[in-house]
């Protein structure tokens, strides 16, 4: 499970490099998110623009990451591709996360 992160204007942007968050990587995802956010800014935006596929295990892992960070960080999402968007909408998890069209919308300082 490969993630990369950078800080922009008090926000840590964590990008998922892999194209899938599925049962094969769900457990690693939570640990990788902990490592990428520890000691960093409170606001975390997870950039999912490279992720073309997520299943219910992957969705559970994103929820688990939100719960893990809760208290020290706020986790928001950006760049949901069609299948990922569908999974969040069908399960109504889109009502639980702040979701941005892309990282530029989530962090306006990036766009300028």
């Amino acid at each position: 499970m490969e993630l990369s992160s950078s800080d922009v204007a008090d926000t840590r942007v964590v990008k998922v490099i892999d194209t899938r968050i599925d049962a094969a990587v769900a457990i690693q995802f939570k640990d990788a998110m902990r490592a990428e956010t520890e000691g960093g800014p409170e606001r975390v935006v997870l950039d999912l623009s490279e992720v073309s596929f997520i299943d219910s295990s992957g969705l559970g892992a994103v929820v688990a990451a939100k719960k893990l960070l809760n208290g020290s960080h706020v986790l928001e999402l950006a760049g949901l591709t069609p299948v990922v968007d569908k999974v969040f909408k069908l399960t109504r998890m889109d009502s639980v996360f702040a979701i941005h069209a892309d990282v530029n919308a989530a962090v306006p300082a990036l766009a300028s």
């Binding site: 094969a24 299943d55 219910s56 295990s57 939100k66 719960k67 569908k86 999974v87 069908l90 399960t91």
Partner: protein
């Protein structure tokens, strides 16, 4: 190793209940669909439903053993695809597929559900789902409508 047999109107894949074999099998099925007249989003929806039923077999029927045999047949029919899935693991509890209910999200962050989405997604996206236990095998069949949306 996964075994793939692709024909003009159907594809059959035999593999083990290991998460990476499941991934490779899904990839083989998606590669086969890619050569046909479906939109990327339709393929993604099929992949999602197949991933959910296969993860269920791997986790529950074979209890994460990783070496259970799975046989999946996908047929291209007039209005979409028809799936027939066979495994030789434990039967479904109560002899039927779980009722997929929407999760209760009106809770504190710490109480949000991390699972239980699988059968709900299958129920929302698949049609004519039939489960049967035949001898020592589980048989699951369903259809997905594609193209008309």
């Amino acid at each position: 190793m996964i075994e793939v047999e692709a024909g003009a109107t159907a594809i059959s894949v035999h593999f083990m209940s290991d998460t990476f074999e499941v991934r490779s099998s899904l990839q083989a099925l998606m590669d086969d669909m890619e050569g046909r007249d479906y939109l990327p989003e339709e393929r993604g929806t099929v992949e999602l439903v197949l991933a959910e039923v296969l993860n269920n077999v791997a986790e529950h029927a074979y209890e994460e053993r990783g070496d259970g045999k799975i046989e999946l047949d996908m047929s291209y029919v007039a209005d979409g695809i028809a799936i027939s899935l066979q495994d030789f693991g434990k039967p479904m509890p109560g002899g039927q597929t779980p009722l997929g209910m929407p999760a209760n999200l009106d809770v504190e962050v710490d109480d949000l559900p991390e699972g239980g989405f699988g059968w709900f997604l299958i129920g929302e996206l698949a049609k004519d789902l039939v489960y049967e236990r035949r001898g020592d095998a589980n048989h699951l069949t369903f259809r997905m409508t594609l193209g008309a949306s």
